[in-house]
Symmetry: C2
Subunit: 475 residues, 2 copies
């Protein structure tokens, strides 16, 4: 990507000095954002800017960004819309690399706001200063705790550091989605709220995360696509290296109308999007759960090159439900276990267990038996991926089951997804698996859907190889 733009985005995520323009000591957004930024763990200097204050929360305050001595990488702006233009001009003079405009009251608010937004963009034209927003929460980076949102510390349960970059056209909802994911230890490399995208767009960030070493998978909540052609081209290139998952909302007529009210976007035709997404290797999610679930699976496990799944389950019922969902899925199928494999399994499990696929060990099973069953399944050519369905309401196992499953999942060769049914010990295993980098989900459907995502990506990459081979044969 463009080297200047990379620097602009670096300044967003890893600034050295941040000016908070509109910081205040009153209980307002300007105070919360300032407080949140002060809590960064990156050794980042945070400086309040407010002509009406000498100091805020004990930090020396400047009347304008121009008065701050030394360089300022990032300015976070929380002032009324009508004051924004002047502030942005001062940022350009100060050679601030990037400006986050938290303020609303722009194109989302009507024709006058739209005009104001155009003037603001005009103000940075020709300079090296770029804008994120307006009307955005800005960014949240778990690694260094750079947090420009105005969510009070005690209210936003923050996710941990991880490898998912989350780019979103919705702010509050995306924060809520991330918060929900904290329960299962989902980690993020970055969150970016795009706001009105007057300047920097989703495609700029995809380009950046494509080369970001902390990011394994890129996921996006979108209602509109700012520049369809460039977006698809960048996705096509990026998805060769890193998986991209997109939740494109506003796909129905009424959904598109709702999106229009929300982000002022005119959603395109859904079927066109669907085809184009597929061609560019984008994995499509239909709701927020799928979006983050798919990102976890694709971030943690290799794609499924073929789609024959073997199920290991401690409970018969869950195995049957999973079998139904796999059979009804678009990409997956149940592996047929050869007779000699079943024979081997029969030698491991209790007599009343089932050694067909699903391999139903029943609850009467030990760690050692699970280990041996997995050894057989991992050694079976007719199996491409493993779905392990666990529940620790039974007698023999402890949290160490996570390490055992992770050993096999990490060995590679066959992707593994775990479904952990229950709370208590089972939840402990699920969380430990997630911390060990094994995708683990709390319901049968979510686990099967995650395998679908792995298969979808695998098929895309395989098709590309074939296309590549054919091309080379033609040479």
């Amino acid at each position: 990507m463009d080297e200047d733009k990379r620097e602009n985005i670096e300044a967003l995520f890893h600034p050295k000095t941040v000016a908070v323009i509109g910081a205040t000591s009153e209980r307002k957004f300007g105070r919360i954002t300032f407080e949140n930024l002060l809590k960064n763990r990156g050794g980042i200097q945070v400086i309040p800017v407010n002509p009406k204050a000498k100091e805020i929360l004990g930090v020396k305050c400047y009347p304008s960004v121009k008065n701050i001595p030394g360089e300022v990488d990032l300015a976070v702006v929380i002032v009324p819309a009508k004051a924004v233009l002047q502030v942005v001009r001062e940022c350009v003079e100060k050679k601030v690399k990037t400006v986050i405009l938290i303020s609303g009251g722009f194109s989302e608010a009507g024709p006058e706001g739209r005009k104001l937004e155009e003037q603001v963009v005009e103000a940075v034209r020709g300079s090296k200063t770029r804008i994120l927003g307006p009307n955005t929460l800005g960014v949240f980076i778990p690694r260094n705790a750079v947090n420009t949102t105005f969510f009070p510390e005690e209210r936003f349960v923050k996710p941990k550091d991880g490898s998912i970059a989350f780019i979103s056209q919705s702010g509050a909802s995306a924060i809520a989605f991330m918060e929900a994911a904290t329960f299962y230890e989902v980690g993020f490399s970055a969150f970016v709220g795009l706001g009105n995208e007057a300047d920097l767009t989703e495609t700029d960030f995809i380009e950046y995360f494509a080369e970001d070493p902390n990011t394994e998978v890129i996921c996006l909540y979108l209602e509109k696509i700012s520049d369809g052609h460039r977006f698809l081209e960048v996705c096509r290139k990026t998805s060769l290296k890193k998986p991209i998952v997109v939740l494109k909302a506003g796909r129905t007529g009424r959904g598109a109308r709702a999106a229009l009210s929300h982000t002022g976007s005119l959603a395109g035709f859904d079927r066109v999007a669907d085809g184009a997404f597929k061609q560019c290797g984008i994995v499509r999610a239909m709701d927020e759960t799928e979006l983050l679930d798919y990102a976890v699976a694709l971030g943690f496990q290799k794609p499924l090159r073929s789609s024959r799944i073997a199920i290991l389950t401690f409970g018969g019922g869950a195995g049957v439900i999973a079998t139904d969902l796999i059979e009804a899925s678009q990409h997956l199928e149940m592996a047929e276990l050869p007779e000699e494999v079943k024979e081997k399994l029969r030698g491991i499990v209790v007599p009343f267990a089932s050694v067909n696929n699903p391999v139903d060990t029943t609850g009467n099973v030990t760690d050692e038996q699970v280990d041996r069953v997995l050894e057989v399944l991992y050694g079976t050519r007719e199996v491409d991926g493993i779905l392990a369905i666990i529940g620790l309401q039974i007698i023999y196992m402890g949290v160490e089951l996570a390490d055992l499953l992770a050993k096999w999942a990490k060995r590679g060769g066959k992707p593994m997804v775990v479904i952990g049914l229950g709370m208590g010990l089972t939840l402990q295993v699920v969380r430990r698996l997630m911390n060990l980098g094994v995708p683990a989900y709390p319901t049968v459907r979510r686990g099967v859907n995650a395998l679908e995502a792995l298969s979808q990506r695998g098929k895309y990459l395989k098709r590309l190889e074939k296309v590549g081979m054919e091309d080379s044969r033609r040479d």
Copy 2:
């Protein structure tokens, strides 16, 4: 239902005296079941039976059930399969009302087991003794803590008392499903593991729960249907009074094969089942999450007589996702708010909020504004049901939001479903709502699906009324 059979089932759920045949002080299933039963809160006498012990865990032990002085309502049998026939004969002699055969090794284990099972059934024929099982976990009743399962106390996080009766052909999986539901405060009136259904079947229990005052909704996990004709007839009658939700697993070819390995059942053709289920007013679930989610919604809220949904959301993105799911659903549609309703809403919310449907208040909203918005929506004829999407990462609200939402949900007239996105405070609101009897879910899809279930049941009941009216006109 048959009065004798009702007494048999009463003895399962509300016994006065329970004999645990095969109780032991060793660390085995026989000990755990005995310990679990000792912890009952129903003042129930629990007596161990084991010819090799004088007392077990401090309780006087008898060599045979026949030696116990006084009446025995319920016998819980955990002895090897080959000893079961003799034990059952003794239970018949002792006039035990109901026998739970936990023991496995019967029809699920092959032709010899099948023969043994037939002999056991033969042994109770002509008597008033009935059998649950064999090969079952038995029952778990949160209200009086009658628990015949062999899940150790510290491993099975138990659900609270509630109004859902859960009948299951799978034992371990169903226990795991219930445990998962404890996180969201889902309550159960009873759990019954059917096992091999040598005697008592799912239909007997549906008949019982149809008249059980503690049960508002009946949900079933089934792989086979023991007596299709009677099952459908009982469901048809019951569903006029109480909702029935069925997860019929083994609906695909491979799923049916898996079910055959699991419960020895030959699953019927799925499309036939689907049509028959609909005609009998059964709401069908496709996975375990839907099963319990639908039960919660149908247990807590009235059915949707018509299907126009108004969304109240604090976040635009979640509103758009919900709109897409509603529009793509089979039964639901988005309500069109009349201009004068929008005008009223505009007078309540902040200027940058959206008053179309979804009504997106943005995070900048107070309890009082939520109250007034709901007042308007509840007063709008063009709205049949309410979907409230909340997330408390914002500033102004506390857990009392639950009480406010519950006030409107309980007022009736329009069913309400809540989606709570996030952890922390949001989860507290979700849990409080569930305790107040308002269905609340953690993801957009689960909330929308719950509304679907309410609509499906509403349409069924409405159709019946029309049929009834036509019939009476013909008279």
